[in-house]
Amino acid sequence: MGSNSGKQEGTGNRMLRIRVLLFARFAELFGETELNVDVGAPATVRTVLDNLRERAGGAQLPPSPMVARNRVQAQLDTALEDGDEVAVLPPLAGG
């Protein structure tokens, strides 16, 4: 792993492992509460949502669900790093 190798310069070859958390109705859609999603860098929240949509149950995800990156609300274009935790949040109903 030379620090200046061609592979390191081209970010397209680098994979990011994102820990995806699913809650409530979304956990029911996917039949899982947690998934590991591998995406090529650079990646955003949108990249992960697109990946989820291709999985069983994913077609029912709304176009722009509320999402948190590492426990802070994020946007579709929020950039992700390897090891990030992305939570996909159904409409909140606390209180």
Partner: protein, 142 residues
């Protein structure tokens, strides 16, 4: 310490966190499980949460309230299965005078509903169940 509790909430425990000799006005909001929603008869509720983020978000809301009003506010939210009449959430705001206490209490409960990742599954008397969804026309998603 977590703001989310798996055991029954107690208003005195929450109030104890903020009430003191300087505070002349104490406002308490108690949210309890209702036996009806969107025209359906509700039997019981299940609250679930993204616990680590919910704790951070409630802490942020309480900090925001403390910067906006001269008040001290404490809050707790139940998770798990609740029956009709059970207490789901308690907010206690204490201030020298009532105006700040009312305003801070109102702010905190509204922000909890708007920002904290908590979900509610309703079980109905007719045997069906649905996710409470304030964005859905019927108020519920199945």
């Amino acid at each position: 310490m977590s703001y989310l509790k798996e055991t029954p909430l107690d208003v005195r425990t929450v109030a104890h966190q903020v009430v003191s000799a300087e505070q002349g006005g104490v406002v308490t909001f108690i949210g309890a499980v209702r036996n009806h929603h969107a025209g359906r008869e509700v039997l019981r509720l299940e609250y679930s949460a993204y616990g680590s983020m919910a704790d951070l978000e409630i802490a942020r809301i309480l900090e925001e309230a403390a910067t906006r009003w001269p008040a001290k506010v404490a809050a707790e939210h139940r998770v798990g299965t609740l029956e009709i009449g059970d207490v789901a959430v308690i907010v206690v705001a204490a201030a020298a005078h009532r105006e700040a206490a009312f305003d801070a209490c109102r702010f905190v409960i509204e922000e909890i509903k708007r920002r904290v990742p908590i979900w509610k599954r309703e079980h109905y008397v007719d045997g069906t169940a649905g996710w409470v969804d304030p964005t859905a026309p019927a108020g519920v998603s199945f």
